[in-house]
């Protein structure tokens, strides 16, 4: 790393790069891999570490406990030195994320649905929020390409889902899925095996799933398609440089209002300047607005790329109640990927309901011995004392659990700002979250809870209960630098370039206009491929 002079500071300055990507998660990996073919000089700065497969919890006997420790979904509990704190006291949903190569894909469940065509046309079809400036069909080839690179287990022919061709057979239904399926058929409601980004056969050098347990705390087998083992090896082979433990403090701009690089802290805590011809933000729906707001300057007093005032606003988190019940027979428990199937019965808007838009129902297997005990204790199902053992044996491996993936619509008061007091380990102001649930979402949620309760009762479950929001933050961080054609009401254009700063792009979930009722990773990655493709096609006039 050469050291040049920085005219504004005595901090060390690195060699200029053509493309600087901030964040090595779901979208950063994709854009790095896609742009590599241009032979540009590409660098990615990631604040976290590589996570070795030998470090994942399922290697050890304490594997369930570690999901409440160094693999907890909350950065505020996990508290790795590579994490930054988030003030979510003023949010009914607590924030989940992971900082490291792979980002949120390290801890995601690998449930891998796409947004539906109607999700891009909510204003036109349902009269709410705004349409996206692009449609499903524009993204369709990128969805397919992403599925091919990632490897998706599933089954074509779902009548509730646009046509597509998963690359591997679906995960087994198992005892749990069979139980759900019988109940759904009895009710006459739609169900289908979920698209899941887990290898059910050997795939692109990845070993097949051996049912280690739920995929959330990382996959020691390497069957789950976290981007550290899918896109990143491709990108690195193509000479993209990835530097870990490098935390970006701010994006700098020059006298022309163009991004000139970033100030970051290297692994030794030394503040450095990294100049770049182009900067691409891939830091998720909270990290990205945090960085833009921390990059305020005399030229951009309200934060970088924020002339619209929309940076940080319209945060969408996907309220995700979980309805659980218990049957008499032993089911799958934690043996296998958590999610087995979905239902889109209530996905599309139905004017007869008291809410617009809809939700996916995600049918989950049970859970392991420690997690069953802890979650049941927290929800009051498992007593202490003399009745403990008897009740526990009625719960273990007998749980059916349905998650309701509710679409929440964009609302400006749901937002990310900078906390005036809280800072990370480098003294960088931390994000503060303000989030409440709309009445439409609340009605949708209650509708879903009632339907899930009906399904579980039909499946023969007893002791049915619901956890509404407290335990269920899915880590879907969306909408805080929205895409749009109107610079007064959006942050980036229809292909991810900031309206205000023409060599600054955003590729993560921040750019979502609405949230759909699905897990977002597949769509985030298709969008990143689409934006990378636009960058490649427009290279000659990219900053015009």
């Amino acid at each position: 790393m050469a050291v040049l002079a920085d005219p504004d500071s005595d901090r060390p300055t690195d060699d200029i790069v053509d493309v600087l990507i901030i964040g090595a998660g779901a979208s950063g990996a994709v854009v790095a891999s896609s742009l590599a073919e241009t032979r540009m000089n590409i660098l990615c700065l990631e604040q976290g570490d590589w996570i070795k497969s030998s470090e994942f919890p399922t290697n050890g006997r304490d594997w369930e406990a570690r999901r409440y420790a160094d693999f907890d979904i909350s950065p505020n509990r996990r508290k790795r030195d590579t994490d930054y704190p988030i003030n979510d006291d003023n949010s009914i949903m607590k924030i989940a994320n992971f900082n490291g190569v792979g980002g949120g894909t390290i801890l995601f469940t690998a449930h891998y649905p796409r947004m539906h065509p109607s999700d891009f046309r909510v204003r036109t079809l349902d009269g709410v929020a705004d349409d996206w400036p692009i449609d499903y069909w524009t993204l369709e080839p990128y969805f397919a390409e992403n599925d091919r690179i990632t490897g998706v287990a599933g089954l074509p022919g779902d009548p509730a889902y646009p046509p597509h061709e998963p690359t591997m057979p679906p995960v087994p239904l198992g005892k749990s899925g069979t139980r759900y399926a019988k109940a759904m058929n009895q009710l006459g409601w739609h169900w289908w095996p979920s698209d899941i980004s887990v290898a059910t056969t050997e795939y692109n050098g990845r070993a097949k799933c051996i049912n280690l347990g739920h995929c959330t705390p990382g996959c020691a087998q390497g069957a789950k398609a976290s981007v550290d083992i899918t896109y990143w090896p491709q990108a690195i082979r193509a000479r993209v440089e990835l530097r870990t433990r490098c935390r970006v403090r701010e994006i700098t701009t020059n006298e022309h209002g163009m991004a000139s690089g970033v100030v970051y802290y290297d692994p030794n805590g030394v503040e450095r300047f990294q100049p770049a011809e182009m900067v691409i933000l891939a830091a998720n729906g909270i990290g990205t607005p945090r960085l833009l707001l921390n990059s305020a300057s005399p030229h951009f007093p309200d934060g970088l790329a924020n002339s619209s005032g929309f940076v940080g606003k319209n945060l969408m988190l996907h309220p995700w109640p979980q309805v659980a019940g218990y049957v008499e027979d032993e089911l799958d428990g934690d043996r296998g990927p958590m999610t087995v199937m979905w239902s889109k019965q209530f996905y599309e808007t139905d004017p007869s309901r008291d809410f617009v838009r809809g939700y996916t129902m995600q049918f989950n297997r049970g859970t392991g011995p420690v997690n069953e005990a802890i979650t049941s204790m927290i929800l009051g199902r498992l007593p202490w004392g003399r009745g403990h053992h008897r009740v526990y044996r009625e719960l273990l491996y007998r749980r059916l659990q349905i998650g309701i993936a509710c679409e929440d619509l964009p609302e400006e008061h749901n937002r990310v700002t900078l906390d005036p007091v809280l800072k990370d380990g480098h003294g960088i102001p931390a994000p503060k979250i303000d989030y409440t649930m709309s009445e439409n979402t609340r009605r949708m949620m209650e509708h879903g809870i009632a339907r899930a309760t009906e399904i579980l009762a039909t499946a023969g479950a007893k002791n049915i209960g619901c956890s509404r929001t407290l335990l269920n933050s899915p880590g879907h961080l969306l909408g805080t630098a929205r895409m749009g054609l109107d610079p007064a009401r959006s942050v980036v254009n229809a292909w991810g370039r900031c309206h205000d700063v023409k060599n600054l792009f955003i590729v993560d979930g921040s750019i979502w206009v609405t949230s759909g009722g699905v897990n977002p990773t597949s769509t985030i990655q298709a969008l990143a491929l689409y934006i990378a493709d636009n960058i490649k096609k427009r290279l000659a006039t990219l900053f015009d």
């Binding site: 594997w63 646009p162 198992g174 005892k175 739609h190 280690l212």
Partner: protein
């Protein structure tokens, strides 16, 4: 860990004594199932060593317990001690949940407890587990149903 330690990271001798007695009330030994209690020497040692992020919460819960009991738990007779323990455990308080998590995460990984549940005490990797395919014929009821997703390219949709 030194049993007499009083640093932020370590429980005092009194706290350890109270925690162990409390653990016995939380999950008692039960001969019907052939399981030890959470106060079993091996399990309790694991609990103490594994407090980690919950250490301060557990310490706070033990202080609450002392307040409820009016004195150290170990000095109460069995009936009064159990009453105080259950009063604490009945509280809807984050530190009580943290205490519960600290005990449960160790209890349900003990070899004897897992054996009693019919679970092989192994890390999941590398052996893995079996998962049956299930009854795929059930999907026949859904195949071929009319399209349910809205195609925005169709007029009027």
């Amino acid at each position: 860990m030194s049993a007499g330690g009083t640093s932020d990271a370590e429980l005092s001798t009194r706290e350890l004594r109270d925690l162990r007695r409390l653990a016995a009330f939380m999950i008692p030994a039960d001969a019907r199932y052939g399981v030890p209690g959470a106060d079993d020497e091996t399990i309790f040692a694991d609990i103490v060593l594994s407090l980690g992020r919950d250490a301060q919460a557990v310490r706070t819960a033990l202080a609450m317990l002392q307040e409820i009991a009016g004195e150290d738990l170990h000095s109460l007779d069995a009936e009064r001690a159990e009453t105080a323990a259950m009063a604490l455990l009945g509280r809807d308080d984050p530190v009580v949940k943290a205490l519960g998590r600290a005990v449960l995460q160790c209890y349900y990984r003990d070899d004897r407890v897992l054996h009693s549940l019919g679970i092989e005490p192994l890390a999941p990797f590398p052996k893995g587990r079996a998962l049956e395919q299930g009854d795929w014929s059930l999907l026949d009821a859904v195949r071929g149903r009319p399209q349910m997703w809205r195609d925005d390219r169709e007029k009027g949709k």
